[in-house]
Amino acid sequence: MRDYIIRRVLGMIPLILIVMIVSFGIFSLVPNPFAALIENPRIKKSDIQRLIKAWGFDLPWYLRFFKWFSGVVRGDWGPSLLYPGSLARDIISRALPVTVRVMGLTFLVSLAIALPIGIISAVKQYSMTDYIVTVVSFLGMSMPTFWFGLMMMMLFSVVLKRPSGMPLLPAGGIITPGLEEAPFWAKLGDRAQYLVMPVFVLAFSSVGGWARYMRSSMLEVIRQDYIRTARAKGAPEHSVINKHALRNAMIPIVTLVALSLPGIVGGAAITETIFNIPGMGSLIIAAEIKSDYPTAMIGLMLVSILVIVFNLVADIVYAWVDPRIKYS
C-alpha cells in the first residue's frame, strides 16, 4: 500500500506538467490582449510594443510558457493583468478563502441532508416519503441557480424585512462594511447571514443528485443475499440497514464524494455573480476573458492538482471501505 501511494504520487509530477503545458497552450489561443489597444488613438504604438514585450506576447507560446514556468519554479506566479499592480498570487489568495467557505459549507450541508434522505427513500421505496424526496430532488436539480437565487433574494431581501427596516438577509456580498474589525463572534454572525442564501441555493441544487446516488446505491445493496442473511440471523432492522447495508452502499458514494471535493476551490461562477461573492469561480472566468493568464493559470492549476490528488484519495479510501480492493 505504501509503495503504491509513493508510486502514484511520483506519477503525479509528469501529469501535472502535462496539464500545465496543455492548459497554457490552450490559453495562448486567446488573442493578444494588447493588440486591441492599437485602435485607441491616445496610446502610443511604442507603449503598446513595450507592453507586449513586457508580457511576453511577442514570443511564441512555448517560449512564453518557459518564461512563465521558470518563474513558477521559483515561486513567482507573475503579476495580474486583470488587477494591474497586484500579484496574481495575491488575487487568488483573496478569493480562495471566500470560495472555500461558501462551497465547503454547501458541500457539508448537502451531504448531511442528502445521504440520510437517500437512505430513507431507498428503505421506504415507493412510499410517500420516497415520492416527496424524489420530487423535491428533481425540483432542486432542474431549477437554474440564477433564477432560484434571484427568487430567494426577492423573498428574503426585498419582501421580508426586519423590524428595523433592513432586509431580513443581505442580498449579496460577504461582510457588512465597517465590521471588518468587529469582535470574533460578531464578525462570525455577520458573515453567517451572508452565507445563508448562497449556501441554501447551491445546496438545494446538489442535494437531489447526492440523494439519488445514495438511494440507488442503497437499493442495489438491500436486495443482496447477505442482507437476507443478516435478517435471517436475527439482526434488528436498524443494524441491517446501518451496519450491513450502509457500509456496502457507501463504497461508490465515497468515491463520488472524493472526486467532487476539488469543486470546492473551483467555485460556482453563476451563483457567485448573483450574490456578488468575490470567489474563485467568477475570478477565474474574468481572468480568462481578459487574458490574465497568470491569475487564471493559478486557478486552473489549483483545481487540476486537487483533481489529481483526490483521485488518489478516492482510490485509497476505496480500498479502506472495501476489503476486496488491494493495491500492490
Binding site: R228, T229, A230, K233, G234, P236, N248, I251
Partner: protein, 328 residues
Amino acid sequence: MDNREILVDIKNLRTFFYTEDGVVPAVDGIDLTIHRGEVVGLVGESGCGKSVTALSIIRLIPNPPGKIIGGEIFFHGEDLLKKNAEEMRMIRGDKISMIFQEPMTSLNPVYTIGDQISEAITLHQKIDAVEAKKRTIEMLHLVGIPEPERRFSQYPHEMSGGMRQRVMIAMALSSNPDLLISDEATTALDVTIQAQILDLMRGLQKKLGMAILIITHNLAVVAEMAETISIAYAGKIVESASAREIFKSPHHPYTYGLLQSIPKFTEKKTNEPLPAIEGMVPSPYHMPKGCRFNPRCPFATEKCREEEPEILEFSPGHLVRCFHPIES
C-alpha cells in the same frame, strides 16, 4: 407413528405474491410436519413454492410483493404467524436458522467472517466479545474449517464457495437452533464439495440433534439425508411419506415421474432415452383447473380436470394428493 414431539406444524400455509402481472399463488395450502430432531426433505421443481415455504417459516417473505395470506405455522406449539416483528426477530437465528443457496453472495463482503459469526452469537446470547470470539472459533472448528483462528479475521472473498457454506452453517448453528432450514444449500457447489457439505450436515445433525428441513430439487440429496420427504408441485404438497416409502413405492404420478427420470447405473446399458415428465410446470398466473398436475399426467381423467384432489392417507404415514394413485 413418530412418537417424537412435534416441532413445526405447518397447516394450510398460503403465501401469495401480488405482482403487476397478477397474483402468484406461490404457496397454496402447504402442510408440513417436522418432529424434534427429524430431517425432512421438501422436494420440487423450481417455482413449486419450496423456498417460499422456507422464507414463510422465518417470516422473511419480501413484502411487497409477497404476503402470507393464510394458514398457521406452529413452532413449539405457538403460531409464528401471530408473532410480532420483534418476537420473530428473536426466534430467527436463535431457534430457527437458515442457510441459503448462494454461499458466494450470502456473506457480507465488507465484514470478516469472524465478525459475522460473532454477531449471530451476541444477538442471541448474553456474552461479551471475547467469549463470542471463543465460541466463533469453536464453531469454525466444528464445521471443519482448518486454522479457525486465522480464518476468523478473513473476509469472505478470501474463501472458496465450500468454505463459505461452512461459514454459513457455523453461523446458523452458533445458537444451537431447534430447526435448521437448508434452502438448496448445496446446489451451487461442485459435486465433490456438495458431498462434503452433506456429510458435514449429517454429522452435525447427529451431534447436535437439531431438526433439518432440506429444501432441494435434487432427489439424491434427500435420499442421503432425509427421514421423511414431501414432494411439492405448483404450490401444494402432492405426496409425503418416509424416504424409504417414497423411493420404494411412490403413489403420486408426479413422484413416479421424477424417480423414473433419474439415471440408474445398475441397469443394463440401453439406448433408450431417459424418461421425462411431459410438458412444463404450469404458469403461476394460470393454474390449471382441478388437479394442478393434470395437464402433464398420463393417468389424468375427466375428474382430475374438474375437481381438485384432497391429500389423503394412502397407507399409514403415506399421504397422496391424487384420485388415481399408482399402486406399486
